[in-house]
Amino acid sequence: MNVASVAGVKDSQGGVDARDVGLDALFAAHYERVARVVGRVIQDPARAEELAVEVFLKWRRTPNAHGDGAEGWIYRTAAREALDEWRRQGRRERFEKVFAPFLPKPLNPEQISLANSERRKVRTVLAALDKRTASALLLWAEEMSYREIAAALEVNPTYVGSLLGRAQEAFRKEYRRRYGNQ
């Protein structure tokens, strides 16, 4: 799909802003996978979906992202937004005791156990890596092709293999530094 041909151009038939046509096509083709990329980092499904939608809206507001690289931009932004959100959540947790009455309901034992779960550890390690490394791993885990990963990370496709190798090593090292050989 090439959204460049329609992005930013008025539709001659109905006067519809063609950016919306491009957005619609991009959304139809990629939303579910973008939501899953975000969902690997963000625990709350509703919040993950909100962020995923925000990525598409941000694309619409970013003319420089319109064109042949639109798909790559979407996935790159999705991974970064998710990692940023995870870090923000970490900072928020410091205030949760104070903020608890504002939460819809208190934490239950299951939620408390989740705090120490493997998922949390993996997310914490991803957030500790540099954003390009973490993004590479997220996209790789989502079974994206090397070509798609290259487009998202703006690197040559021939470079993706070694990039992923280094990313996996960085993940392994950071995980073991934090949690030992589990």
Binding site: R36, G39, P45, V53, R94, F99, P101, V122
Partner: protein, 303 residues
């Protein structure tokens, strides 16, 4: 995903975070059509309120038990801000918040004024503005002597005495309502009346503040200086742990002295907050740009 032997361990770890839910495409499309972002559905205000809660929660002092029983309260009006490079979340104080937590979106400055109970400032030159108003919040903190002593012990501050009489004493802070307005360029302004810190008469504010700083790991001489300064001029005390790469600067905002906090993002840029107070209001101007945050703050101060 291509998996070779070297990848298996990492692949298994990443499998643990595979979403177990299916995206709701219909709902997402509805949000998309409305152009409705996540920020517009309340997360922005929630974080702002949490930040405010942090500021408030750490502006603490200890009342004397007997005087508290007599309900002889002092009331401090806090209009200034201060930063300590500490993680005060380590201080074991039992915190709670009671609030009329209703948060309302408002469509006009008149409506914002009606809901908030004061006339907020809207900076129309930065866009139409989209506001929510939070209800008033009341923060209470309870001293638990055993926990405070334990924290002091862990910090090696065994010379600090925590009297038994401090047990169960409560501190109270009132904040809000707050008007939180989002502007063009991912900018946000938070406005409130000054916070009120309620303390019983005769409270050993300096002594307690010193105990708090010591339990957070501050050296004795430094904690004494910080506590003395805080007791002389209580302020909204924002804790920014040393390991966080936040730049803190004092800046001039009109006639007021403000604080600028620059919180770097991972790859580039920063989230910049400028906080300052006037006789009638306290403000926080937040954006991705130092220039914009300062401009917003100075525009507010000039009104």
């Amino acid at each position: 995903m291509e998996i070779n032997e070297r990848d298996v361990w990492v692949a298994e770890k990443l499998e643990a975070v595979r979403p177990e839910w299916q995206p709701d495409v219909g709902r997402a499309r509805a949000w998309l059509v409305r152009g409705d972002s996540a920020r517009g559905r309340g997360h922005g205000w929630a974080w702002a309120a949490a930040t405010a809660a942090c500021l408030v929660a750490m502006a603490i002092a200890l009342p004397d038990g007997r005087l508290m029983a007599q309900e002889l309260w002092y009331r401090f009006v806090l209009r200034s801000f201060a930063v300590v490079r500490l993680d005060l979340s380590r201080v074991p104080l039992e915190a709670s918040v009671s609030s009329n937590v209703v948060t309302r979106s408002v469509g006009s400055i008149e409506e914002a004024a009606q809901v908030a109970g004061f006339q907020p400032l809207w900076l129309t030159e930065y866009g139409p503005g989209k506001s929510v108003v939070t209800g008033p919040m009341q923060f209470t903190q309870v001293i638990r002597v055993a926990e405070l002593r334990e924290a002091l012990g862990k910090a090696g501050a065994t010379d600090v005495q925590v009297p038994d009489a401090w047990e169960g004493l409560q501190l109270r802070v009132d904040l809000g309502p707050m008007v939180i307005t989002e502007y063009r360029g991912d900018a946000q302004v938070i406005e409130s009346r000054p916070m009120a810190l309620h303390l019983p008469a005769g409270l050993p504010l300096e002594r307690f503040a010193e105990a708090v700083f010591r339990s957070a790991g501050v050296a004795a001489w430094q904690a004494s200086l910080m506590a003395s300064k805080f007791a002389r001029n209580p302020a909204w005390l924002l804790d920014v742990p040393e390991e966080e790469a936040v730049v803190v600067e004092e800046v001039a905002v009109g006639a007021a002295q403000g604080l600028l906090l620059e919180d770097p993002k991972e790859d580039k840029g920063a989230r910049v907050t400028v906080m300052f107070g006037t006789q009638e209001r306290v403000f926080a101007a937040i954006s991705d740009s130092r220039e914009l945050s300062l401009r917003l703050a100075r525009s507010l101060a000039a009104r």
